[in-house]
């Protein structure tokens, strides 16, 4: 038992900072879609009238007539605009991602050039937005994740006979210890599963490739001439849309107009019926030709090999792409609890050793990640949309505040109130930026409520943790 105890505390102390970093940005990724929308102030105007899909399809076909493929995503519950994505077969990946326009039936809206939530989410698994360092950092993060799993496992062995639901702590250390045992018992399941599924996400596909011989498909190099002047019949598309929404059980759909094949493919934006079976993956789309249903894949399934299934399960439960808003918010709340748990574990170790340096380490993890993310959002609001290198400047803001907060945590390790005031100042600036530059939509209000809760939290605990 002593071995587990030593292992648990030694490994955890070494890795807690990185674990907090990974957990924090992982937690942010649960609200990726909403953060992306929050970071586009220009498209947040409140539209009272209903968007006509008819007008949007007409507009997309007219405005982007030179493109082979046009995707029209119907408005979601928070965004009263059709998202139009347009590209050719030879377009680069970056072009495919950035060729996006928004339309409300009357007016066109342009997207603010930003990496958005993708940059914050990228911190979770690649830290720097460069491809060259990605694979090595992914490997290091997988090692950290595996160590986290071992820490969690050893934690369960050393709980002992103490009743987890009994809270008796009176001094700060004992209170933290009770919190660590109680919350840890529950949150460990969450973190343990995420760590294993995260590793599987990284490597399951590679392992599958290693065991299976790939049958190479013969690709015809002949270039098919595409008639870009081809126009789809809008009334037919609307008919297809209503058929597909009945079959797929949702009205939030993506309509893909493929001029090369003269086909219309309709698929759900968020597929809540993913992973119907553990060894099968389901595709959910319906393909129409000019008149009728060509291929109904609303319930089609494909048998998977073992490692493909591992990847599929990990992807479904780790990325949670299908999650409706209530599940995203609940998982986000669990993520915050996990971050608090790791932060408090670091504080607990500091109070056990009675060393303020360890407390500074805990604060450096928390305040660096939190302040840098807020600074990134502030930069997004205050920088002009036409500015050259705008996305790069936002990222520079992030890194600058990250380093500054890290340094401040060690400089003011005995005065946490200063760190709290710094965070409050950043949050107030962000609220002001929202007031000046954004339009109040349901998402903006949701984020602002969250900032106000954080301000109250920091104001209440301005003196911080006392060893």
């Amino acid at each position: 038992m002593k071995v587990f105890r030593v292992f648990h505390s030694t490994f955890a102390v070494v890795l807690c900072w990185f674990l907090f970093f990974i957990s924090f940005f992982g937690c942010v990724s649960y609200i990726n879609d909403y953060t992306n929308y929050y970071m586009q102030p220009s498209i947040q105007k409140n539209h009272s009238k209903e968007v006509s899909l008819n007008d949007c399809i007409d507009y997309a076909q007219k405005e982007f007539k030179d493109y082979e493929t046009i995707n029209v995503a119907t408005p979601t519950f928070y965004n009263n605009l059709c998202e139009i994505n347009y590209f050719n077969a030879n377009s680069t990946k970056a072009e495919k991602k950035s060729n996006i326009a928004y339309f409300d039936g009357e007016e066109k809206y342009t997207k603010t050039p930003t990496l958005g939530a993708k940059f914050l989410f990228g911190m979770h698994y690649k830290i720097f937005p460069f491809k060259s360092t990605q694979s090595i950092i992914e490997a290091l993060i997988s090692i950290v994740a595996f160590c986290m799993f071992l820490i969690i496992l050893s934690g369960f062995f050393i709980i002992g006979k103490k009743k987890i639901f009994e809270l008796k702590g009176k001094n700060p250390y004992a209170k933290n210890y009770d919190f660590h045992i109680l919350v840890g018992t529950f949150i460990a399941v969450f973190l343990g599963f995420l760590s294993l599924s995260g590793i599987a996400l990284n490597y399951a596909k590679d392992i599958d490739k290693f065991f299976t011989t790939k049958v190479q498909k013969k690709q015809s190099k002949e270039k098919v001439s595409v008639d870009n002047s081809y126009i789809f019949d809008t009334n037919k598309i609307l008919e297809f849309y209503s058929t597909a929404s009945d079959k797929l059980g949702t009205k939030e759909l993506i309509i893909t107009l493929n001029k090369a094949k003269k086909q219309v493919q309709i698929s759900p934006i968020k597929n809540i019926n993913s992973l119907k079976s553990f060894n099968q993956s389901a595709s959910n789309n319906i393909v129409f030709d000019e008149e009728k249903i060509l291929e109904d894949k609303s319930f089609s399934v494909k048998n998977n090999s073992f490692w493909q299934s591992v990847y599929e399960i990990s992807f479904t439960f780790h990325r949670v792409k299908f999650a409706p808003i209530y599940l995203s918010l609940l998982l986000f709340a669990c993520g915050i609890l996990a971050c608090v748990f790791i932060y408090k574990a670091m504080q607990m170790y500091a109070s056990k050793k009675k060393k303020a340096n360890y407390l500074a380490l805990a604060n450096s993890a928390f305040f660096s990640c939190f302040n840098a993310s807020i600074a990134y959002l502030i930069a997004n609001k205050i920088l002009s949309a036409d500015l050259a290198n705008r996305a790069l400047m936002e990222q520079s803001f992030f890194y600058a505040i990250f380093v500054l907060s890290f340094a401040l945590s060690f400089i003011f390790y005995k005065k946490q109130s200063i760190l709290n005031y710094f965070s409050i100042a950043l949050l107030v600036i962000l609220l002001l930026c929202d007031f000046i530059f954004s339009y109040y939509s349901i998402v903006t209000v949701g984020f602002n409520i969250m900032w106000i809760i954080f301000i109250i939290f920091f104001a209440r605990r301005k003196n911080g943790f006392v060893i």
């Binding site: 639901f165 809270l167 919190f179 109680l182 919350v183 018992t185 529950f186 949150i187 399941v189 969450f190 809540i272 019926n273 993913s274 992973l275 119907k276 479904t316 439960f317 949670v320 299908f322 999650a323 409706p324 209530y326 599940l327 609940l330 998982l331 709340a333 669990c334 609890l337």
Partner: protein, 63 residues
């Protein structure tokens, strides 16, 4: 429905009715298998237990 059951169960923990809470958790666990999407209800079940139970124990009403 699964989420609602678990919130009610967490409230029971909060007001010190542990056995009733356990019964409601069991019902929501069974309900999980009868929903349209297993992945969705399973995650709701697990996440709501992970989030609500420790918090309701931490802030529960003292007898």
């Amino acid at each position: 429905m699964v989420l609602l059951f678990n919130i009610i169960a967490a409230l029971c923990v909060f007001f010190n009715y542990a056995k009733i809470a356990l019964a409601i958790f069991a019902i929501s666990f069974i309900a999980m298998f009868f929903t349209q999407s297993f992945a969705l209800s399973f995650l709701l079940f697990v996440a709501s237990i992970i989030f609500f139970v420790p918090l309701s124990v931490l802030f529960k009403v003292k007898k």
